[in-house]
């Protein structure tokens, strides 16, 4: 197949030829504004998240965008994910095997000596629907409203949001404000456990079992509501650089405890005597600041686009976290790109986080041994390769490795836990294939 010499800018040469033919000036022959309307643009993705020995999640995303005559945009997104595998139940590893009751109360599972207790009954399918309508109000004001629905076997989340963006300074600056409200209902199988009550362990077939199990329960379902406020500022610095700053304030009220998590109660020697259901405060106020810079380097640096951001989050549970995220988009030829990604995350523990409690210690009002609110560092490294098939079809592949290192600094370990890995690392692989058309 013959190919027209790539280096040559045919468009420019043709525009000069046209100018000569029509006797028009070059300035009047340089602009064209045309785009397709009334046409859906779709994005599909399949994502696989797999933790070593733990949870595996498969996710399918189908998103459609339609642009209307006056630049109104309708965005619909359907996400379905299926989760299977094992999840840490909060109890600490022991030098001997441990027996736990499943959250439903039906049956038990045994964790071998030295292993972190994992509840392997996790199996859930989640269906998520998001809809967003964006429309310009005036030339420099854009507004957007949206709705959210997410349904799992034991969870329902409903949400609404509204946003307003104002452009000024020749559209080089944008101030935006967003407000969202979510209402979640949790109906876990086996009901809501009573805070600090002991996990019932024994023969689940015995006639008294059901009555005894019911004593550890306080109801069937719980709710929580979340209100988020976001204020953002975007500034174009130059033709090559853009920066963004955000502040968000989020308040959550209601049931914030994880009904599937327990805390090991150890004797002074370090041996587990009991497992009690965790308890968290019924409100949380989270704040975060975010700053981001994108820079488009010139040819001397291969036209790379660098995207670096930093987020600082703090809340009234005593958790604060730092996230540094960076992506570099490196063009490969004319129609493909490679995008390395590095993310660093570091978080401090919640005030009430304890990897275990010793039986003579006072519990305080709240306690949780969930490693996700403990001190940790996590790193994600990976890359994405994208291929532009034509002006609207893109195929991309993403592969990332996630490494999480919980660190329980400041907790002295009783003798029985010596030599046990009570804060095991979590490793995961994230693979994604996306196609937009």
């Amino acid at each position: 197949m013959t190919e027209i010499t790539k280096q040559r800018n045919i468009k420019a040469a043709l525009s000069i030829a046209t100018t000569a033919l029509l006797g028009t000036s070059v300035t009047t022959t340089t602009s064209v504004q045309a785009k397709e309307v009334d046409e859906w643009q779709f994005e599909t993705a399949y994502l696989l998240y797999s933790e070593v020995d733990r949870v595996t999640a498969g996710e399918v995303i189908i998103a459609g965008t339609k642009t209307f005559e006056n630049d109104e945009i309708l965005n619909l997104k359907l996400t379905i994910d299926a989760l299977t595998g094992a999840s840490a139940n909060g109890a600490v590893a022991q030098p001997k095997a441990q027996t736990f009751t499943r959250p439903s109360g039906n049956g038990q599972y045994i964790t071998p000596a030295g292993d972190t207790p994992l509840d392997d009954t996790f199996k859930d399918t989640r269906l998520q629907l998001n809809g967003q309508w964006t429309q310009p109000l005036e030339d420099n004001i854009t507004t957007s409203i949206g709705g959210h629905l997410s349904k799992e076997y034991d969870y329902l989340s409903l949400g609404i949001n509204g946003n307003l963006a104002y452009d000024f300074n020749k559209k080089n600056s944008t101030i935006s404000m967003g407000l969202s409200y979510f209402l979640d209902t949790f109906t876990p199988e086996g009901g809501i456990p009573k805070a600090f009550s002991s996990m019932l362990v024994g023969d689940s077939n015995s006639p008294e079992w059901n009555d005894e199990f019911a004593k550890t329960r306080v109801g069937d379902s719980e709710n929580k509501s979340t209100t988020d406020i976001l204020v953002g500022f975007t500034q174009v610095i130059s033709r090559r650089m853009i920066t963004a700053f955000n502040y968000s304030y989020s308040t959550v009220d209601g049931y914030l405890t994880d009904p599937f998590k327990v805390v090991s109660v150890l004797n002074s020697g370090g041996f587990a005597e009991d497992y009690i259901y965790e308890n968290r405060p019924d409100s949380r106020v989270k704040q975060s600041t975010f700053m981001q810079a994108k820079y488009h380097f010139d040819e001397s640096l291969l036209n790379i686009v660098a995207d670096v951001s930093y987020r600082y989050m703090w809340d009234d549970w005593g958790i604060n976290s730092h996230t540094i995220d960076s992506r570099f988009t490196i063009p490969v030829g004319q129609t493909s790109y490679f995008q390395p990604h590095i993310r660093y995350y570091q978080q401090s523990a919640a005030d009430f986080f304890k990897p275990f409690v010793i039986n003579n210690q006072s519990l305080g009002n709240f306690v949780s041994a969930d490693y996700r609110i403990g001190e940790m560092t996590a790193i994600t490294v990976g890359g994405k390769y994208g291929l532009l098939l034509n002006s609207r079809n893109e195929l991309s592949f993403r592969l990332e490795y996630y490494h999480q290192m919980p660190t329980y600094a400041g907790f002295s370990l009783p003798a029985a836990l010596d030599g046990l890995d009570i804060a095991p690392n979590v490793d995961a692989i994230i693979a994604q294939i996306s196609y937009s058309f």
Binding site: T2, N9, L21, T30, Q334
Partner: protein
Amino acid sequence: MQKKRAIKVSKQKDGFAISFYAMASACEVLIQTSDEQLAKQIGQCVSNEVWRIEDKYSRYDFQSTCSLINASNGQPVKIDEETYLLLNFAEQCYQLSEGLFDISSGVLRKLWTFDGENAECKYFPCQEEISEILNFVGWDKVIYDRYSVLLPKNMQLDFGGIGKEYAVDRSILLAKQFTDKPLLINLGGDLAVTGPRENNQAWQVAIEAPYSDKAGHTQDMIVAIKQGALATSGDARRFLIKAGTRYGHILNAKSGWPIVNAPRSITAAAPQCIQAGILATLALLQGENAEKFLIEQEITHWARR
């Protein structure tokens, strides 16, 4: 040849539509005005210009400049400035495409019949026949200057690949001299606008799908255009099938063979219609690399395979 030439003016929601028939296509001028007299005047003036260009460059009209050149039997023919400029433009396209686009390649059509749709090709030329015809193809053999053109014996010129788009651009320039009301000129799918409609609104244009889907519906594509032009190249109804391979009706002027694996149609956007048309045709000439070419040249386009 008796030609039925008339324009039809019809009132629309926020203006007038003037329709007429030219260059084997349905043509339309849309103008956003409440002044019917003005609409009529513009319609008259645009259609006259399109018919003028048709008469001058049609190879079917024996009185046309094109026919005079084609019948010159190797003798120089006097040309006017407009023809000179068009030949110059054709020369640029020939150079830019490294010979793939050639207005002297029309004679190859004697060998190739693209009757499309269903049938397996009845007559498929052999390489000898093609090579023989190729002796009479080649823009580089044409000698021209500001005042005359010399076309070697047995060669033919065909302005079909640029005529309609040229007429769109000429008509836009002409209409702009009469009015600054927003208007759109559409000559059988090749179109241009003078600018956005009132209140910076875009024009909505349906681009006809080159083929129908399984259910028999043609899926028109709607494009919003505020500035510039659109041109479509390719025609799904014109192709031939031989031994399972689909040959599109675009011919490679260098090899004499039809292009294979090209999209069925390409719509390109450009500031002027003639540019859009050439870009769409040059892209089709790239065959399976058509989309790649358009992306590399950063051209807004829609390709349908």
